[in-house]
Symmetry: C2
DNA sequence: GCGGCTTAGTATAAGGCGTGAGATAAAGGA
DNA sequence: TCCTTTATCTCACGCCTTATACTAAGCCGC
């Protein structure tokens, strides 16, 4: 009997978090447990402070149902977004409302992992001290990084773009922060955020694409993130779209990223339109805005975007054929900027290139959370663990005043 | 308490089936159960006839361990391969050794579903009568079909190549056969066979490709078949390999299948070499043999195969990037014929086109079971249910003399 | 060849936990 | 106020795992 109770607790907590407030009858239906068990489990959870009664529903003849909810103030979760050009630390309550933010002015591309961890953990500890001073409890820290996170004994990070190769980030952080720490790839945390709180909400099979300078994807199979054998699944940006095409920064030829990545688009535009000259220090986001604006009147710009939509759509059609998702979410800063203009064409290409059967069963939509949701997603890692643990986080890390917890 | 015992029984049965004979100590380790529970569960299973003691291991000081095994003769499973051009019915014991075969001379492409089911179920019932006459028990029937199998209330089959659209095949078979019936796509059953008994054995994350006239794939994530939202995942043959390329029979342009499917290869060869003229009634398998033979001396043939390997390898690299598998199995009759020649080039392309990290963690190997393993795979569907059910198959279907079972 | 040692497997008792049935609570309506 | 309805809780029951102690069955050394 390996912890049957934990399974029941998790079964009850999950719909409370993901679908919002519920009554006990609804929970019996959603969990498949007996009403007696729901009563028991909820009783414990209320005792522990994780769940609160927040009201009652109108009755139509019988006893009114009590509405139950996770207590958003039960604890806070911290998300850390280690980006290529800066670090962002945010704290959220259990309703995923932002409670505090801190920015760290360290360029991970320009410093080694030790420096990055030093500054990031200092920011976390500062936030922690401040919030605990206000009497709030921190449950854990989720960290998003721009690279593959190998989940073996520890979380080892391989991130060529910032020069990390097998950095034991989990251990480094845990040495400096007295909290549970969880590490994951940034595209995957963004995907988790969209999945739980954005355009993927309510779907079980989803691909969340991340369209920016680089291109990635987070694949959700039956509601859970698909990692593959060594956590690198979802490298959509380096799938081939043009046989023997132009060389990509990854060394291969004809990658999607080399054709529709933000920088690639800008270079294509400059090549097609002699009047456009890109500066040395390229502010990609501003220039993508300009490209979108120009597309209304300028044929070269419009052609660049049309080709981008076709490539993106073709690659998305491949995802549809391979994964048969219910939904594809177009996210990432470039996706959010280009999507409104390109989505119709992308959908058209998906319908034409994917098999009819899966194509009619998928919807392609824009992300809803903005490009800064990486830290939000990182913080959901801790919530995920909390839910999976039935309301308890994996041992240790000396949680003071957590007697019953 | 939803059947805790069933979970324990399944935990014990699975390694006994997948990894062969075990002793109780090993099972304790493999299942995580206590030795007492293993004793209890094994005791029940021996009583029921599913497990037998088959010997004892040498001791080195202590009491010798008793070796336990599934009783291969406990029951038989029947696999039905409904192919595009014929139907094959095979019976296997629980060690997956073939016990009987029957071929049905009905061309599913030329008859409607009713006729196909009529003949197939007649063949199954004949085999059943014969085997039961010999005192053997049939546990169930697995059916493989060349199309998408939608697993909703019943198994609905969408198979354009034989003109089926939403055929309720599960129901049709169950009306004629008094046994549990399970239906699945043929590429997926072949994959399951390779996964359990062939080149995928021992791997958790695998893609089994099916290279024939058409091209498909079965994707295994953490040991279980990935179906997607509507069971059509794995349509690798219709992923795009050439932007805006030649039209495929699916209506899209540039599909892998349109470039490296067996028929496509032969047409390319005929187009490149004027001396090759394909007959109206094309025996693809024989001609592929001829193509392979010609490649040794004929430049046109060699070029066709070289291009095929490049396209196949590129598409396989996409699989590596997206799924991060530990192993890719090249199966299907064309794959088995071409593989020995093309595998080195395919591996080369995968290494060049996939990202370094996942590429170094995958092996590309030939299938080990031959192209006729589709029926074998179909029969494993029943074994799968038997294992998942802890040694009992889902109710009903009046299993005579199955008092305790 | 006989005790001692080691390891495998079994019996027993204790305790955790879900469940169904019935009890109780809390409304609306006559 | 009482009846009906629906929600929730209580409790006894039984399933199942597990810890513990015990038995079984071999090797080893004297």
């Amino acid at each position: 009997m390996r912890d049957l109770r934990r399974v029941s607790r998790a079964a009850v907590l999950r719909p409370l978090f993901l679908d919002g407030p519920q009554n006990r009858v609804g929970l019996t239906r959603l969990t498949g447990l007996s009403s007696a068990s729901v009563t028991n489990v909820i009783g414990d959870l209320i005792q522990e402070g994780l769940v609160v009664e927040v009201g009652r529903e109108e009755s139509d003849g019988g006893r009114p149902r009590v509405v139950l909810s996770l207590d958003p103030g039960f604890g806070l979760v911290i998300g850390v977004d280690v980006g290529e050009t800066g670090i962002r630390v945010e704290a959220f309550d259990l309703s995923m409302k932002e409670v505090a933010v801190a920015l760290v002015g360290v360029h991970p591309q320009e410093h080694d992992a030790g420096v990055v961890v030093e500054h990031a953990s200092a920011a976390v500890n500062e936030l922690k001290a401040q919030l605990e001073g206000e009497g709030r409890r921190i449950l854990g820290v989720g960290v998003a990084v721009p690279g593959v996170v190998e989940h073996d004994s520890d979380a080892h990070v391989h991130a060529p773009s910032i020069g990390w190769d097998g950095v034991p980030l989990g251990r480094l952080f845990r040495q400096r922060i007295e909290l549970p720490v969880s590490v994951e790839n940034g595209a995957k945390t963004l995907g988790q955020a969209e999945m739980w709180l954005g355009a993927g909400r309510g779907y079980r099979h989803t691909v969340v694409t991340l369209w920016a300078t680089g291109i990635g994807a987070a694949i959700f199979a039956d509601g859970t993130l698909y990692r593959g054998a060594a956590s690198s699944a979802g490298e959509w940006g380096h799938t081939n779209v043009v046989a023997g095409g132009t060389e990509c920064r990854c060394g291969a030829h004809g990658c999607l990223e080399a054709y529709v990545g933000a920088e690639a688009l800008l270079r294509q535009w400059a090549a097609a339109d002699g009047t456009v000259s890109l500066p040395e220090e390229l502010d990609q986001q501003a220039w993508i805005d300009r490209l979108v604006e120009a597309a209304g009147s300028n044929a070269a710009a419009a052609a660049v975007l049309e080709r981008a939509a076709t490539h993106f759509g073709t690659a998305a059609a491949n995802l549809v054929n391979l994964f048969n998702p219910e939904r594809i979410v177009v996210g990432g800063w470039a996706g959010l900027k280009l999507g409104p203009l390109l989505l119709p064409r992308i959908r058209e290409v998906v319908a034409a290139q994917a098999l009819h059967y899966p194509a009619t069963r998928v919807t392609v939509e824009l992300g809803r959370l903005g490009a800064e949701a990486v830290a939000l997603g990182a913080s959901t890692l801790i919530v995920e663990e909390l839910l999976a643990g039935g309301g308890r986080l994996p041992e240790g890390h000396a949680q003071p005043s957590a007697a019953r917890f």
